[in-house]
């Protein structure tokens, strides 16, 4: 191997430093901001403070304590309820998605009878027909004035499912080909921007009295992250040889026993990384929580957004302080499951 010239090595390190700096600077700024006193937050005093001159914990105190409006400062509620809220709904939503998603993924991996993709024209035509059939009913429901109430939404949903099934039967009369992949349909749930579904969900949730409740948020988070769990876990299950479940069943285990005693322990690395991924998604969600919470259950991102006062504008210091606190759970979670994230647990299982 030939030694590269020194200038090349130096140039390489300079480039690396620039790229690393580019990506880590925002984090650096947030971390330092959390410890800066108010005068150092901005350049209002004529200087940029790259490093905190007088590090202080005031920002943490401000954000964690409740303050009833007095001189100079407006009413300020504590961030503690929002931290509690974030922890409960993120963990709850993650567990919910993992529970249904993992079972669904196992089913898709082992028992799926998918017969290839539906041709795009059939898929689009079917969607068009579905909308065409359901539209008059929607108008009817609106005219009857029941579409705003829980029974209206529930009945319309059931009607939609029924029409969908009938449409499949109808199509089957003159179309015999691949019936599409269920796994792909599940992924399609995530193929439009969340904004598009959040408002209908908000209307539904208000009809079902689920707005600003922890279980309402958990339900949404579970459903929204469910497709990710299915796809990630399915790929992990696909890697585990089917013979292992079969061996367990022949050895006297039930189908559930084979799943819980043999397959799931082998997929725990995948389960841990999926859990982390989904947890981060839920933890950092802003849009859904903003629209579905009001007073009792705003999460950390929603609370962060409210850290603005009429007197002094955005409260950069407390925002950064809370941001720093919000980083802790995913990082700790990540470190805890680090050993499970290492792949290759199935090595040696099967002679190939």
């Amino acid at each position: 191997m030939t030694q590269r010239p020194t200038w090349q090595i130096v140039l390489r390190y300079i480039l690396v430093l620039i790229v690393v700096g580019w990506f880590t600077f925002p984090t650096y700024w947030m971390v330092t901001m959390a410890f800066k006193p108010k005068v150092e937050w901005s350049t209002a005093h004529g200087t940029i403070y790259w490093v905190p001159q007088n590090p202080t914990l005031d920002n943490f105190e401000t954000v964690l304590t409740e303050y009833r409006g007095r001189f100079f400062r407006a009413n300020q509620s504590s961030a503690l309820p929002s931290i509690r809220s974030s922890i409960i709904v993120s963990i709850g939503g993650t567990l919910f998605a993992l529970l249904i998603g993992t079972l669904a993924a196992y089913g898709l991996s082992r028992f799926s009878t998918d017969t290839g993709e539906l041709p795009w024209y059939i898929a689009l035509g079917r969607l068009g027909l579905l909308i065409l059939v359901l539209l008059p009913f929607m108008v009817l429901w609106a005219w009857l004035g029941i579409i705003r109430y829980w029974y209206g939404i529930l009945s319309f949903t059931l009607l939609g499912i029924a029409v969908n099934q009938l449409l499949d039967k109808f199509l089957a009369l003159f179309y015999r080909g691949p019936t599409g992949s269920l796994a792909f349909s599940i992924l399609q749930l995530r193929m439009f921007p969340p904004m598009a579904i959040v408002i209908p969900v908000m209307i539904m949730w208000s009809a079902f009295k689920l707005i600003d409740t922890w279980y309402g948020l958990i339900a949404v988070y579970g459903v929204v992250t469910f497709p990710f769990v299915v796809w990630l876990m399915k790929s992990f299950f696909d890697e585990i040889p089917r013979e292992l479940d079969e061996a367990a069943i022949v050895d006297g285990a039930s189908n559930w026993g084979a799943f819980f005693k043999v397959v799931l322990p082998l997929a725990k690395g995948g389960l841990a990384s999926t859990a982390l991924f989904v947890f981060i998604l839920n933890w950092s969600d802003f849009l859904i929580a903003l629209l579905l919470t009001t007073r009792d259950w705003p999460t950390i991102p929603v609370f962060l957004n409210s850290l603005v006062s009429s007197e002094i504008g955005a409260q950069h210091g407390p925002k950064a302080a809370l941001g720093l606190l919000a980083v802790i759970p995913p990082v700790v979670f990540g470190i805890l499951i680090q050993r499970y994230l290492v792949r290759g647990l199935t090595f040696g299982a099967i002679k190939r």
Partner: protein, 386 residues
Amino acid sequence: MANIRLENVTKRFGRVTALQSINLEIHHGEFFCVLGPPGAGKTTLLRLIVGLEKPDAGTIYIDGEPVNDVHPRNRDIAMIFQNLALYPDKTVFDNIAFPLRERKLPAEQIKARVAQVARMLHIEHLLERKPGKLSGGERQRVAIARALVRTPRAYLMDEPLANLDALLRLEMRIELKRLQEQLNETLVYVTSDQVEAMSMADRIAVLYKGVVQQCDTPDNVYNLPANRRVATIVGSPPMNFLTCQVQRTDGQLNLVHSGFGFRVIGSDHPLWDCLCRALPAVQEVLVGVRPEDIRLYPEQPTDVIAFPARVAVSEPLGAETIVDVQLGRDIIKVITPPTQYFAEKQPVWVAFDMAKVHVMDVQTGARIYTTGAPEQLQCILPGTCA
């Protein structure tokens, strides 16, 4: 302790018929081999017996009881998968103990049983290890131990030795045979290796394209193959097949090939019966002779009738030499002792063991007749009878 019976069992996967009306009876305590080339449906047969697949038609009986709708866990049959399917995250002890734990046996009893089986298979020192840290042969033993530990009604093995190296395979073969004799339990053994089947089995079922071609003792499968397919699958190198013209002229029946000819003597001969009375329209038959039933002579022998031929290729294997010989328009394989040396293109004389000549139907490949004694067919040179 089990008697397994399959009655008209058919299994399809989509449009592919994996098994076609299988009828088999596997007796209690029998070492039963299912032999066939890859893709013959051997594994599907095992999976049907153990219950991992459901037959599309027909019934499977275990001890006279139909088990089509019995869940595999309740059939009490142990299966060793081709890839062994050891649980990689569990220690050897936990692997072996798994079936017992599923049966909720007390811990002490489990420990005792595992220890006993481990001693029997000489793997006591491996109990704390994970399967990934074991050698191929050790994994094999663990898989066998996991099957043995619960004393099932029958054992099914799916090419258990296929992934071992040649020497280990030899060793495990003997060990399996010894084990089966010791246990005296029903064992269904699937293999594509005819040597394994011949050396271990009490009976062999030869499977080809989802159909049982023959089900008999190794001796009969080898000596009286039901058809051309069986004769090709059993025996290495496979049997030579030579297409012969059937000549029925003035009270004589001759089978004539471009390199040799046979005369059927006496009108009470079974072949006469078959070719002149039952199948008078048949113009051609296949004559099958195993490579080990042919002898080569460098000079024309005086004591037997031999046919002139020419050596094409010679493959010395050490213990024996396989010689490809051009006989008439066909090439036949002959096994010769290594002491004999044949050069390429060398003229030789070919003599058949006349007690082991098979005659088969050209169309169906079914065996019509096998000579049992040398005097039943007379050798003639092809030129002399026309």
